[in-house]
Amino acid sequence: MKNNKKPVVIFIGQPNCGKSTLFNAIAGLKAETSNFPGTTVKHTHSKVNVEGRILNIIDLPGTYSLNPADPAEKVVLSHVFLEKPDLIINVVDASILGRSLELTVELLEMKYPMIVALNMTDLAEKKGIEIYPEKLAKFLGVPVIPTIATHGRGIKELLDKALMVLDEGLHVSSPSWSKDVEERIEKLTKQLPEDFPVVANKRFTAIKMIEARKLLFNEMLEEMNPSLKKALDEVRMELEKAHNAPEYEVISAERHHLAMKIFEESSKVYRGKRISLEKRLDDALMHPFFGYIVLLIVFLGFFFVIFKIGNPLEEFLLVPLESMRQWLRAEIGSGLFFHLLDGLVQGIGGGVAIVLPFFVPLLFLMSFLEDVGYLARAGYLMDTFMHRLGIHGKSAVPFILGFGCNVPAVVATRILESRRDRIITSLLIPFIPCAARTTIILALIAFYLGPFWALGFYVFNILLVAVLGRIISLFFKTPSPGMILEIPSLKFPSLKSVLRKTYFQLKSFLKFAWPILIIGSIALGLFQSLGFDKTVNLILSPLVEKGLGLPRELGVTLIFGFLRKELSLIMMLQALGTSYNDLMTVVSKGQIIVFTVFISFFIPCLSTFAILWKEVGKAVAFISAALNTGVAIVLSLAARVVLSW
């Protein structure tokens, strides 16, 4: 035991097992939770104080197995070794225990001290599954603690046990498999030289080597240690011959059988309980037509609720902001100081009065749909259409997340197995109107031209994504491998969890975007009083004035739009020197549409650009920027021509 170092505790579990909820209950407001497979894509570190001891706890993304050939699962695997855990807490969904145990038995192979948190025991009971934790613990050889993370039940016991295991240590032995498979693994284990970079233990290393058929690793091994490579190939061949199946399937089947055996012996299943209200509701939601009607109504309702909450709220909040500006103007005049103060008021007030009224309900509803488990269902329903775009329904997930914010959407493309699907989806995401752009659409188009125009804009936007998807997929020769998406059971989310997630996302807006908004506004005020903005406007005037037919003053707002899209809206008012309610005296309806089209599509915002770079590579990020700018110019020019008829 490392006594002077803080013990490292890792949370691992299959997607959607309630791992993040459990982690949150322990760590506080840190990890985002959801009822959607694969949304915790980043890992979260947190330090917690348990009875006077500081534990370093880490939440890893949900993973079905530790397959080194799958990019997302490889990340988890390498993180486990990077962190060198003192304890693993394996969170298990009790309602699908049989499959969840497949990961558990794989984790046991590493022989790290481990505790199983048997989560969602309430859901398992509802499904008619009775689990005996003592029996389960006996079969697995590690402690099993039943928990209900959403209600905070079992957490104290879990932490007590964790401290106990950390103090006393725990000897974990890997459950053994069929004799012939074990023999062959043993054979390879013996061949591993002493200086071989072993991970966890020799047997685990040997198993992973056998499983990693398609990896670069094999060529490396060929060069560095040809005799070991030969032994490895031999073992693979023998396994394949003896079982008449590829070696990875043999090993997967071993884990499967072991997991099923443990499941059957440690639980009882009472059948016939399943046909419930929930099942009937699900049948309707996934129905080949009613499903689509519900989907449509959900999204229309979504749009309407946000509009109907945001709009009156916005009007209400704008009044004091306006009078404050008038008062400032009257008191200070129009010098440098006024411009700076005015910028400050615009930045703070704009965030509160224009962005938040739409942003908060949008985040709330999005979190709600996600937690209920509806997003995965939407992905299933959307596959029919997405398939025709050359991608599949699983891409609907990042797309739908993209309506909230493009950044997590790009990160969520990790759930797509093929690189091809990832690139296409990543290139399309910046065209999805995120919360910020929805705010612009609502605040400009819906407010001045009416809700039907805004909806029309939305429909057009989605059609555009479809057309672009079609075009982009022409550049790829191989077809998409197709969708495999787990549909989680419907859950009624706790208000606490939805509020927590809304708060979490709102916080990131307040933390990153708002300061930029305020600084941007002040900078623009400074620019204006010093006359710099005129230079920028002059440079951009061929595009802005001649091309798009917009007031020249708007040129500078485009620069800020690159930082954050919603900045353009606030900046627009400031640049034109007008208030929200008087905007129509300065620009025409047509100009509003052209401006919105341009702002919506032109260049992904800075954070999207950065995340594209990080997630899918520099080339894709630049292609995306060029594609967006090109599309924005073409469409806004077209909009101008069409509207001037």
Partner: protein, 126 residues
């Protein structure tokens, strides 16, 4: 008053779409008829791909074809050879299928292409 106006807007908004969808229902019904004929034929042969399997009937997975990645993914999600599954729903216009593992009670949405690579047979009801 406010609620009323919201509702009116909402109805005005959704009615054209509902009309569009009722059109789709008619088309889909025709598609369905064709499908069901096909299903009866293949039921006689017992072995078929999951894409052609009859809904709400227990099916046994006989073989999973396809690439290394796809097969591994299916195993990881808890779909193995000899598992009992049931087709719960199908997407519009030969869209994806929704399949549930009867043993583990896990539902997975599969694209058509993948469903065609999974061979199942109808299990005789006892």
């Amino acid at each position: 008053m406010y609620v009323q106006s919201v509702w009116d807007d909402f109805i005005a908004f959704s009615s054209p779409i509902l009309i569009f969808f009722s059109g789709l229902i008619i088309i889909k019904n025709n598609v369905n008829e064709n499908n069901s004929q096909f299903d009866i034929q293949s039921e006689k042969e017992k072995m078929m791909s999951l894409a052609q399997a009859p809904p709400d009937t227990p099916l046994k997975i006989v073989e999973i074809f396809g690439g290394h990645g796809v097969r591994r993914r299916l195993f990881a999600l808890g779909f193995h050879k000899n598992d009992l599954v049931e087709l719960d729903s199908q997407g519009l216009f030969r869209g994806p299928i929704l399949v549930r593992n009867l043993t583990s009670d896990i539902s997975v949405a599969l694209g058509r292409g993948i469903a065609q690579k999974i061979i199942v047979e109808v299990v005789d009801e006892k």
